[in-house]
Symmetry: C2
Subunit: 459 residues, 2 copies
């Protein structure tokens, strides 16, 4: 059986380790950081994530679905907070559908525990990859504590080392490797809303809260301890921006003016704002993702995306599911072909979700506060009810289906044209809720092909 | 006065050294390769280039225009070679306009000689930059011959080290640095047509020869010794491609079938094809191009483009002219602002020429063999004659003007719409050459603004 070196013990590295170990491969996972199970570390990255259907599938394959389900908080929709404190709820899918707020550390530790149950997996921490020979799948690591260097030979290296991947950096030096890294003008900073009354949630627990403010936004996701983790997505430069808020007074005045109801719930706002780092947001695209049968990139290392569709982890876990399916198809001596099929299958999908994620930022920070947009969402909800086999919203396909991202994007664009027509109907605002409109929408969408299963069943 | 470290003694590095030395700065130029004036080296890059107006301006600033003019061969237009040996001439501009075939090594050596006349410039060869501290503008070099390392402190580092820039690689590690490298599906290989009869050109000397074959092409540029340097632009994969021509027979059969008239002139075809490397073609885009007042990227290091508009060197030399103008505007303690204005001015223009260069590949390899395209070019030539102040072809603006590339692109797109109308006139083919058509074109274009000077004068 092949021996495999995985670089990175993050979410995707740990999960792919499980999938490979299940098949009997000898798996070594090298992680730059210390073991997060024995040492509290702040990775400086978002501490909670939204798990949706594609992510659950990956987790299920690792057999830890029940463990995670216990600590996952369903969010059934968005709650928009206007400046005057008014809240508007917008459901994500059906009554049974939700995305789930989970702790990054929690899932990662559960995945590592799960992986370590396999005798053929070993984890090595504090191991920074400093060089690599891609022809021979040899990697050189330096121990962060001792400074000692070690050389590791194996049959194949899997780079699961994130958006700033060292493995990808080595591939980037090879001829004809296409690569791009693009930062958006916004950064983010984490803030917190603690529990009240010794443990209660300060706001509705089963929702993702958004304070949309056109060019920027604040969001909040629930944690198991009754707190919310808030994230301010804010321009680096301009007015207002991270650069323009200089003094304590600037910060407090800004929050009081634009997020008055949130400020009430944030006793440590000023400390959080000043102590927590301001992080940037990158989109990474590259191709190919592999070198012969020796190296493969997976997860953020192959396709780093912005967080606005909540699909970074979900897409990485889907990589693992797809790789697992291909492992059924190819023999051990055919991994060059396996890797080629993998990258050919996944590249259009990771490009699509990268694009959708960028677009969803505009939707979240700006459009959700817009009346026409909310009307559109209502029409889409009706469309989905009256033509469940012919219509599924973009959000629903991405979050609650396994339809490839690129196909979801194409279908959504086709559907948009139909909704464009309906929304331009005279008196459309008055008709919302009427049986007549439901009939008209059902007729208008009758030309779309029957692509989907029953509304309630998974796609 | 500031001390400045320039990394790269190529075309742009040598020219910018001259501009800076003229102003009295202490300039050190570090070059990875040996001195090409004392040691014959093959850089593996195109050995001749097409110099056009923007390049001449840069050269003029260095005071070596006369030296280069002596060894530059004017090419007044394209000569297209069809498979049956038919040749079609298409003039680039007016009778007085031409682009010039020059030797890369010739210009580079002339620029270095010119630079060395300044006491405040020193060149250091065989010095590979291996590390850099951008905060302090400190660079570390390793001598390729002795292995010795040296640390160089100066006030500012200019990265003129080409499309695979080490300086850019260091900037790429900083936060929020946008970067992309994209390879096209084609590579290139140099071949040669030697002089005949002991020194005569085997084809028309004052033209750029093209064998357009739709998905690939062969071109030839004249050299001073009577030879032509040919370049085959050819897909890496597929059929036909570099990958598909495996045996001597494959190669010869392919050339005999598709370039029969060229084969006649290429006695060393097989050796050239097998001995010369196959090189890839990259577009590099990044932003920003500077770090505070400490580091600036220039030329290919900031914007590597494909060669199909013959503008790589010309664009790099225009960088030098623009930088020189900005040096008039800013004081020595304002270089952070200078660099910001430079990159803000140049970025849209380098993006535009990168795009135009990619598009021109399709024009050269495919469209020039197309009847409608040739008709279009004829209409454009008439338009330029009858409305010289209102119409200038895309090629003319790029090659024979100093109108910023991005503006040239916009103007050309606006003009295209007018030509689209004219070309759809009934009997347009019969009318070419008629006075009536000239009048109609003049009228049709009368709504375009008067943007240009007289046709014969520089823009």
């Amino acid at each position: 059986m092949k021996s495999i070196t995985i670089i990175g013990a993050g979410l995707v590295g740990s999960l792919v380790a499980v999938y490979l170990a299940k098949r009997g491969y000898q798996v070594s996972v090298f992680e730059r950081r210390p073991d997060m199970r024995t040492q509290r570390i702040s990775a400086g990255r978002s501490i909670n994530l939204a798990l949706s259907d594609r992510g659950w599938k990956g987790i299920e394959g690792a057999g830890i679905k029940e463990d995670i389900a216990k600590v996952a908080i369903p969010m059934k929709g968005r709650i928009m907070h206007s400046v005057d404190g008014k809240q508007t709820f917008q459901q994500y899918g059906t009554d049974k559908q939700a995305i789930y707020s989970v702790s990054r550390g929690g899932i990662n530790m559960a995945l590592m525990d799960c992986a370590e149950r396999y005798e053929n997996i070993q984890f090595k921490f504090n191991q920074r990859c400093i060089d690599m020979n891609i022809e021979t799948a040899t990697a050189i690591f330096q121990d962060n504590e001792t400074g000692e260097q070690s050389t590791v030979h194996s049959d194949c290296i899997i780079g699961a080392d994130g958006a700033y991947s060292v493995v990808r950096g080595v591939l980037q030096m090879t001829d004809r490797f296409n690569y791009s890294q693009n930062y958006i003008e916004h950064g983010y900073k984490e803030l917190t809303i603690p529990p009240i009354n010794g443990g209660d949630f300060a706001m509705e627990k089963n929702a993702l809260h958004i304070w949309p403010r056109s060019s920027y936004m604040l969001i909040a996701l629930p944690n198991m301890d009754g707190s919310f983790t808030c994230t301010l997505f804010f321009p680096f430069e301009g007015n207002p921006s991270f650069a323009s808020l200089r003094t304590d007074e600037d910060i407090l005045n800004f929050f009081r003016e634009h997020f008055p109801d949130a400020v009430e719930m944030m006793p440590t706002l000023l400390q959080d704002y000043k102590n927590n780092p301001t992080s940037s947001l990158i989109t990474v695209r590259c191709f190919p993702w592999s070198y012969k049968d020796k190296v493969l990139l997976i997860g953020d290392a192959a396709h780093g995306i912005v967080p606005f569709f909540g699909q970074g982890m979900n897409c990485g876990f889907e990589d693992c599911s797809v790789l697992d399916e291909l492992l059924n198809k190819y023999e051990d001596n055919e991994w060059e072909s396996l890797f080629e099929e993998f990258e050919t299958l996944r590249k259009p999908n990771s490009d699509a979700i990268a694009q959708l994620a960028l677009e969803n930022f505009v939707e979240m920070r700006d459009k959700v506060a817009d009346k026409e947009f909310l009307l559109r969402k209502k029409i889409e909800a009706i469309a989905q009810e009256v033509q469940p086999k012919r219509f599924r919203s973009r959000y629903s396909m991405v979050s609650f289906s396994h339809i490839p991202y690129s196909e979801s994007m194409k279908i959504a664009e086709e559907q948009d044209k139909y909704i464009d027509v309906i929304i331009r109907m005279p008196n459309i605002n008055d008709m919302i809720g009427s049986e007549e409109l439901r009939t008209q929408i059902a007729e208008a969408l009758a030309n779309l092909p029957e692509r989907f299963g029953d509304y309630s069943s998974p796609v």
